[in-house]
Amino acid sequence: MSIKQISVFLENKPGKLFELTRLLADNGIDMRALSIAETTDFGIARLIVGDAYGAARVLREGQFIAQYSDVLAFAVPDEPGGLHRLLGAFNDAQVNIEYMYAVLGGEKGRAYMIFRVTDTEAAERALTERGLTPLAPEEMEAI
């Protein structure tokens, strides 16, 4: 099952990310995962939170442009070769990864990764057939 990610447009200017974290802090929003992609003149902050809709509303009211997208989350054994084996399944299933990033925290012995793929539904099917089930939103919440 896919989970909701929020993507936020960030102007490349000092203080913009600070504004974003201030909004989240003021509204008691806890981030499960955060990644920032940047170009020379703008960036996109991608975040996973408990209540994606609530967070997007807060951000939009704060004059940010925020959008949802579906991503897949997987648990990875926290050991050498763990991610490599996971990607092996992606490879077998011919799933194209647009980007990926790691989840903050987690329990000992396990890491979590977020994947944005070209066709989320097809990827989910192909990976599940190979015994890889993505985390459900409640599981993500529980990390």
């Binding site: 993507s7 102007e11 992609a37 996109i44 940010f64």
Partner: protein, 433 residues
């Protein structure tokens, strides 16, 4: 049905118009020669006396007045009447140098308000209409001019002035305003705010808008017409020449009729000062033939346009001018290429962006840098860096094909470009030349 405020003047024959112009010009030149030493000296330098001016055909013998003259003669040097006969002043924002202070007698106010009344009726206003004037009131001519014109037509006038956008929208809805007068950028902003409030054109009673004081493109017109559900009319003027109402659009919207009983237009080559034939693009020069307190003779407006004397189907006989392609003041020369902000606006609107932008020009290592800041919109934003960069590239290429040089397009957060409730700051030129 076409409405006219003064049909006997607006639809007069060419012979009548020429006769009025000639009579008024002869008197005006004599009066100015006798009362304005600054202009008298200019005439003497050119070897012209009032006796040489017998009609409009002699106009070209007279010396030009320019913004530089206004600066030199600031503040009283061009007054044509003693102070005690003046009843008001207006002033420019002073964005392109020293501010202009213009004086008005009651006669001047009257003729100006008549011109605005003609513009309002050409946009379909009658005494049944409610006109919301959202131009700034005060020193700026926009508020006072349209307010006065609206009273002359007998419209119920709502003197809102600019600012407090939510209250503007509330008044439009609660008081059933049918005609809106403001700057085009403010009209666009009102539309944007309405969208945010979940209001569409069907939620407001407006039917027409009269927008001026800024350069705006046809694309921006269509955009405003769509979001506000109105027909948008252009109006033209300068503080030096009363204010808005020097010319205005009729229902035909193929150029703006110049109020020729008060203003004689000429088009000149901006470099040589030579008068150019009708239809040729050049700098607009206006002679105000019956303004008393601030009588401008052959005033160089710096606006680039052309004149069209063909008969207009609206019935008006006064000459039409094209929408100024850009004030020669607004024109930027970047890497040797002429760039008008209005061209940039056109491209932005064609690519689905809001017409809210800022042009940054600087000079680094003897080369001009040219950057355009554009606000990101929720509609354009996607999670993919590649797609956003593609948008930037497409826009940059579109601008290059319009302008001939390629700007860097920088996307900025929404609402970060200073939003004008009066005039927008579109150009920041940091070059020290």
């Amino acid at each position: 049905m076409e409405h006219y405020y003064q049909p006997e003047i607006e639809c007069a024959s060419r012979e009548e118009i020429t006769r009025w112009q000639s009579e008024r010009l002869v008197k005006q030149v004599r009066r100015v020669y006798e009362n304005v030493p600054y202009y008298r000296q200019k005439m003497e330098e050119k070897g012209v006396t009032p006796d040489d001016i017998r009609g409009v055909e002699d106009l070209k013998k007279l010396p030009f007045l320019s913004k530089a003259d206004l600066r030199d003669a600031y503040p009283y040097g061009l007054m044509g009447k003693p102070m005690k006969e003046c009843v008001r002043i207006h002033s420019t924002s002073g964005t392109t140098g020293k501010r202009v202070v213009a004086f008005y007698t009651q006669h001047d106010i009257d003729l100006w308000e008549d011109c605005c009344a003609r513009a309002l009726m050409a946009a379909g206003a009658t005494d049944e209409d409610v006109v919301q004037v959202s131009y700034g009131y005060g020193l700026f001519t926009g508020g006072a001019g349209l307010d006065g014109g609206s009273h002359k037509v007998g419209c119920l006038t709502v003197p809102m002035s600019s600012g407090n956008t939510d209250r503007q929208i509330m008044f439009i809805r609660d008081l059933n305003a049918t005609v809106l007068c403001c700057t085009p950028s403010y009209a666009a902003y009102l539309g944007e705010r309405m969208k945010e409030l979940g209001l569409g054109p069907e939620d407001i009673p407006l039917k027409a808008g009269i927008f001026g004081a800024e350069a705006w493109s046809e694309e921006m017109r269509r955009d405003i017409e769509k979001t506000l559900g109105i027909k948008a009319y252009d109006i033209y003027g300068l503080t030096e020449l009363s204010g808005p109402g020097v010319s205005f659009e009729c229902s035909e919207q193929r150029g703006m009729h110049i109020n020729e009983d008060h203003f004689i237009p000429e088009i000149i080559d901006p470099d040589t000062g030579e008068v150019l034939p009708d239809g040729t693009m050049g700098e607009l020069v206006i002679t105000a033939v019956d303004k008393e307190a601030f009588p401008m003779i052959r005033y160089r407006t710096k606006d680039i346009c052309s004149l069209n004397r063909e008969k207009c189907s609206c019935g008006r006989t006064h000459v039409r001018m094209t929408k100024p392609r850009g004030r020669s003041d607004d024109m930027l020369i970047i890497r040797g290429v002429n760039v008008f902000p209005s061209q940039i606006e056109t491209v932005l609107l064609n690519h689905g962006y809001a017409a809210n932008y800022q042009i940054l020009v600087d000079r680094v290592n003897n080369t001009d840098t040219f950057e355009i800041l554009v606000e990101m919109t929720p509609e354009m934003f996607t999670d993919s860096i590649g797609q956003i960069q593609q948008l930037q590239k497409t826009l940059s290429a579109g601008l290059q094909s319009m302008l001939g040089i390629r700007p860097k397009v920088t996307l900025v957060a929404p609402k970060t470009i200073a939003r004008s409730e009066g005039k927008a700051v579109r150009v920041v030129d940091k070059r020290k030349i």
